[in-house]
């Protein structure tokens, strides 16, 4: 039989007749107690030892107790001082404090315990000592002395009431711990008689071992492979980014090209191109973030004229315009975009420089800004998924088929299309879908075919279908978050971000 050093040492130190505590084995083998314990458990698993466990209570004197062991308990010192001053009559307390060497809280401690222990009486500040009391055999002092000398609660049979009293006085701390005692089995005795060789065990594999070839002869000590390891936080991509990337992957897979463009943009691109009348409630001060910078420069004049004409007179032979004011200064004012449809307008007009011959598919997943009340589901800044398809003769059915395909990638099926009104699309639909886990019917987007009043000024002759959706809504659907502020923004909770499951 071959055993590691530590196990063999424990076997040799232990007895088949007398249970030996781990501490004693540790002393004899000069191993650490935890090493002995680990070796003992390994030996037990091999049937070589048995381990008996029992709970032992220890009581350790506190620092305060150690002080009293040197100077005496305060009440004992008071008693001695009182006897010294006058063994028969009452003595003023004030005279005794100095003589007894009582300082600070010790005075109260002495008074509290003096009468309790029968050292005498205290009446109106006068101390009368009982001459028959014996300060040399104070049970509390004796017990403390025993414990301080390494005595044990069990072996020295210290009374439980006395321990309670000492604990109340904060003079001891009681602890319970497990004592393990090791006994050899018959198999172990047999094996010892037959002789056991030692195997060298090593803790770590070192480069030297590998180069020297020493690794061939060593045995690796076993680890507790079930023990907890220290926790670490790896870097991870923000979950809203993960969701955005997933949406981008889906859209790229469906043939969409990504758009990019300014967050601070002219109202012309944000609203006027979209045939939003200038007196539309969404264009008032309260809904938009106007910026304190000069108006945009270099809007394409012809396009501006065509857009203004669409607002005033409509497009086509039978077209009508809005009966609303239209002012170029307002169109040129710069604001934070309320939707990324401003990018769609820049691209569709050709202003962004991309080729716009049909067919085309474009998308973006970017931030938009709306002045809303901050609450668990509304932020002032959020991500909008925006997409459009440019092709000849698109129908409402193509729009429905495209969006069903997109949402199916996120597990949202059975989409309902509710006829809706947008100033910039006709027909328009709000999209409703079933929540993948709760089954609730929730709004998941807004869509439609861009109106002729939008497309004609941009010079687009084919049809364009478009839709928009808040990315945060998709995130909340996928992860079940209840408060978007925990995730997005400086109030975010790092723990939540660290612990959120990675979806794939």
């Amino acid at each position: 039989m071959r055993l590691p050093d530590s196990q063999l040492a424990v076997l040799e130190a232990a007895s088949a007749t007398e249970p030996t505590p781990v501490d004693r084995l540790a002393d004899e083998t000069e191993l650490k107690p935890e090493t002995v314990t680990r070796a003992a458990f390994d030996l037990r698993d091999d049937g070589l030892v048995t381990i008996a466990e029992r709970t032992e209570t220890t009581a350790d004197p506190t620092d305060e107790a150690h002080d009293y062991l040197e100077s005496g308990l305060p009440e004992v010192r008071l008693y001695r001082a009182a006897i010294e001053a006058d063994a028969d009559d009452a003595v003023e307390l004030g005279q005794l404090i100095g003589a007894a060497g009582l300082e600070g809280p010790e005075v109260d401690i002495a008074l509290a315990n003096f009468a309790r222990k029968g050292y005498g009486t205290i009446d109106s500040g006068s101390v009368t000592a009982d001459p028959d009391a014996d300060p040399d055999s104070d049970p509390e002092a004796d017990a403390l002395a025993t414990l301080a000398d390494g005595g044990s609660v069990d072996n020295d049979a210290i009374d439980a009431d006395l321990l309670d009293q000492l604990e109340r006085r904060d003079l001891i701390v009681r602890r319970e711990h497990t004592v393990r005692e090791i006994t050899l089995t018959d198999d172990a005795v047999t094996a010892l008689m037959e002789g056991i060789e030692t195997a060298e065990t090593v803790d770590r594999l070192t480069p030297e071992m590998l180069t020297s070839g020493e690794w061939v002869d060593v045995e690796f000590s076993e680890y507790n492979v079930e023990a907890d390891a220290p926790s670490i936080e790896g870097g991870r991509k923000h979950i809203l980014r993960q969701t955005a990337d997933r949406a981008k992957d889906v859209l790229v897979g469906m043939g969409f090209q990504e758009m990019d463009g300014p967050h601070a943009d002219a109202d012309f691109w944000i609203n006027d191109c979209l045939f939003m009348p200038q007196d539309h409630p969404a264009r008032t001060h309260w809904d938009r973030f106007a910026l304190d910078v000069p108006p945009i420069q270099g809007l394409p004049d012809q396009l501006v004229d065509r857009v203004e004409s669409a607002h005033r007179d409509g497009v086509g032979e039978d077209g009508d315009g809005y009966h609303s004011p239209w002012d170029r200064d307002f169109a040129e004012a710069v604001a934070l975009r309320g939707h990324t449809t401003s990018l769609s307008m820049r691209y569709l007009s050709g202003f962004a420089g991309a080729d716009i011959e049909p067919p085309k598919r474009y998308f973006s997943v970017e931030k938009v800004y709306r002045n809303d009340t901050l609450d668990p589901t509304h932020l002032l800044e959020f991500f909008q998924i925006e997409g459009w398809v440019l092709a000849e003769d698109l129908s409402v059915r193509d729009l429905m088929g495209t969006f069903e395909e997109f949402y199916a990638q996120f597990g949202i099926t059975d989409i309902k299309f509710k006829p809706h009104y947008n100033p910039y699309t006709e027909p328009s639909f709000e999209l409703f879908g079933e929540h993948p886990t709760t089954g609730e019917i929730v709004e998941i987007g807004n869509s439609g075919l861009f109106r002729p009043e939008v497309l004609e000024p941009l010079g687009i002759e084919a049809d364009v279908m478009a839709w928009g959706l808040a990315l945060e809504r998709l995130l909340m659907l996928m992860y079940g978050f209840e408060d978007i502020r925990d995730v997005h923004g400086t109030l975010c909770d790092l723990e939540l971000l660290r612990e959120t499951e990675v979806l794939h």
Binding site: L336, L380, Y421, T490
Partner: protein, 599 residues
């Protein structure tokens, strides 16, 4: 979106479908685009809908749409009107800011408490939507019997009221919900309603006022006089609307007239006499007869209907669907003669002339008629199909670079963060110990983070007054809000930063900035530098870090981030002053640089 309260019993009565249950009505209403939101305490249905069909802002209009949908009614209905007896004179003194007026007389209305309630709701909802909170149009409805109009003709025939402008304290009247006479100016200061609508008259020297023979009875757009208040016993009504656009007030007037006509009222025209046919009246003319129930016609090609809806229709199907939408379609043959629109043909090449009733305010283009037709057909009847269109997908260069840099940072152990682009000046500059437009030591280069702020005009929240000029302030706020969470906190963000730059056509320079912080007991400059160097290695650019000065960082432990020879950022140990300001009790090493430098 507007919500209208509708009494289901009234709806059954007005549609003539007493047998419909509440649930059946709700389904029928959903198909019209009216979504059931809940019930009022009185058991009325609260219906939400998009603000296009303003003719459905009352139970009368909803009932009318249902009757078309049920096929109980077809064709465009125009109520009979009687010839004018009343004239609305408009004086030259009318305020320039509110030049237009329109109206009608409606007699013999079957008024009840319910009808009155519905009328008041219709008026409120029209004010809120098309009336742009009364700025564009304000409605006044009066009990005609309480008005005394002076005759105009030589024989004393006819009656008139006058719309004019008066001095704010130029006259007195008793407004609704008041017991004593007030001047218009006093209404604005002392009457509860004056507070809500007084802003509309800011800058007016003269206030709008409408008079009859007995005096001032309406103070648009604020409040009517008490004398002419409409009650459940009122039968004959005078309607007046004032506003900034003639078309808008005329169409609101039509919607009200149609609702009252459904309540048994007879419409009587009125004459409008403007003081001139010039100035604001140039396009509308000097004299008008209102209400204008003229029918608009738009033309829709059969083929366009089929491509938009993706369905093949017979011609008679289209005609039927238009009828159900409350429209009326007709066709002419090649010779210009009327042809049978209900003929059983495939409709190829046909162009329908579609009549649009005068209460519709949402039909701007033939496409709107195709949408009506789709709703009548039922959009959810359409079978979705994936379009057979081949395109190639791809990512924008800018976001690809951002992804590559983010992947590198995450690999280096940073938690990727996402913060708001809007911030306060205090958080962006002061708490980072810098000042806007501050320059670096040599004076000719702006300090990283000290760009000129792009400020929000009239900000609503003191926490969001500008766009951030760098990312580090956001990251320090996240550290500040997470001191109770486990350390180390190594955070990074790639996000938008911006500053005023008049060389950009928007006057705003926008860029993506990389910010990173290492918050840990032993964070040092070296830790930050090691990671920045690894990032630069990953993206294959040359990094140098010559010493610099920056008040956000500790002197002697701060460097410019120089990539391929250009200063693009800053790296260092955050100054204790900044740490203490953010309630941080451990060192933070950080860097910030422009994403585009990694290109």
């Amino acid at each position: 979106m507007p919500v209208v309260d509708v009494d289901p019993d009234e709806l059954r009565e007005l549609t003539g479908h007493e047998e419909k249950s509440d649930d059946e009505l709700k389904d029928d209403l959903f198909n019209l685009g009216l979504e059931f939101e809940g019930e009022t305490d009185d058991g009325e249905l609260q219906l939400e809908f998009a603000p296009d069909r303003l003719d459905r802002l009352s139970v009368e209009g909803v009932a009318r749409s249902l009757r078309y949908q049920y096929g109980d009614e077809t064709g465009v209905y125009v109520p009979n009107t009687n010839d004018p007896d009343w004239t609305y004179e408009v004086a030259e003194s009318v305020p320039e800011g509110r030049p237009y007026v329109t109206g009608a007389i409606v007699r013999d209305v079957n008024m009840t408490e319910d009808v009155l309630e519905s009328l008041i709701q219709l008026q409120e909802k029209l004010h809120a939507t098309m009336g742009r909170k009364r700025a564009k149009a304000a409605i006044g409805i009066h009990d005609l019997t309480m008005l005394k109009g002076a005759g105009l003709g030589d024989d004393g025939s006819g009656h008139s009221i006058t719309y004019r402008g008066i001095d704010p304290d130029g006259d007195r009247f008793v407004p609704l919900d008041a017991d004593s006479e007030m001047t218009p100016a006093e209404v604005l200061t002392d009457h509860p309603i004056g507070d809500k609508f007084g802003d509309l008259l800011d800058g007016f020297d003269r206030y709008p006022a409408i008079y009859d023979d007995l005096g001032l009875f309406s103070f648009p757009p604020v409040i009517n006089g008490r004398r002419t208040e409409v009650e459940a016993a009122s039968r004959d009504l005078l309607i007046e609307l004032t506003g900034t656009d003639q078309w808008t007030i005329d169409h609101i007037c039509n919607i009200i007239c149609y609702a009252l006509s459904a309540r048994g009222g007879t419409i009587e025209e009125v004459e409008i006499n403007y003081p001139a046919a010039t100035g604001p009246y140039k396009t509308v003319g000097g004299g008008l007869v209102r209400p204008d129930f003229g029918i608009d016609t738009k033309h829709v090609a059969h083929d366009r209907i089929e491509t938009i809806l993706g369905v093949d229709f017979e011609q008679r199907e289209v005609a039927d669907l238009f009828a159900r939408a409350g429209l009326s379609a007709s066709i002419v043959d090649d010779a210009g003669n009327a042809a049978d629109v209900n003929a059983v043909t495939d409709g190829d090449g046909v162009v329908y002339a579609v009549e649009i009733p005068p209460y519709r305010v949402d039909v701007l283009h033939p496409m709107d008629l195709i949408d009506d037709l789709g709703r009548a057909y039922g959009f959810n009847e359409l079978e979705p199909r994936y379009p057979d269109i081949g395109t190639v997908g791809g990512r924008h260069d800018r976001t690809q670079l951002e992804d590559a840099a983010r992947a590198s940072l995450v690999g280096l152990g940073f938690e990727d963060l996402l913060n708001f682009h809007m911030i306060s000046a205090e958080a962006n500059y002061d708490r980072l110990n810098i000042e806007p437009s501050a320059t670096a030591g040599d004076g000719d280069r702006r300090l990283v983070g000290a760009g000129e702020p792009v400020e929000i005009t009239g900000p609503y929240s003191e926490d969001y007054t500008q766009l951030r000029t760098w990312v580090l302030p956001s990251l320090l706020m996240v550290l500040e809000n997470n001191t109770h969470r486990a350390y180390p906190q190594d955070l990074a963000e790639i996000g938008l930063a911006a500053e005023v730059d008049e060389s950009e056509n928007t006057n705003v320079a926008e860029w993506r900035s990389i910010g990173a912080v290492l918050a840990r007991n032993d964070a040092t400059y070296e830790d930050a530098k090691a990671r920045l160097a690894a990032l630069c290695d990953d993206l294959d650019v040359d990094l140098e870090t010559p010493p610099t000065e920056h008040p956000t960082f500790i002197d002697g432990r701060v460097a410019d981030v120089v990539i391929d020879g250009d200063v693009v950022g800053v790296i260092g140990e955050i100054h204790p002053k900044v740490l203490v300001e953010h309630d941080l009790e451990l060192p933070v090493a950080a860097f910030e640089l422009r994403l585009e430098a990694l290109q």
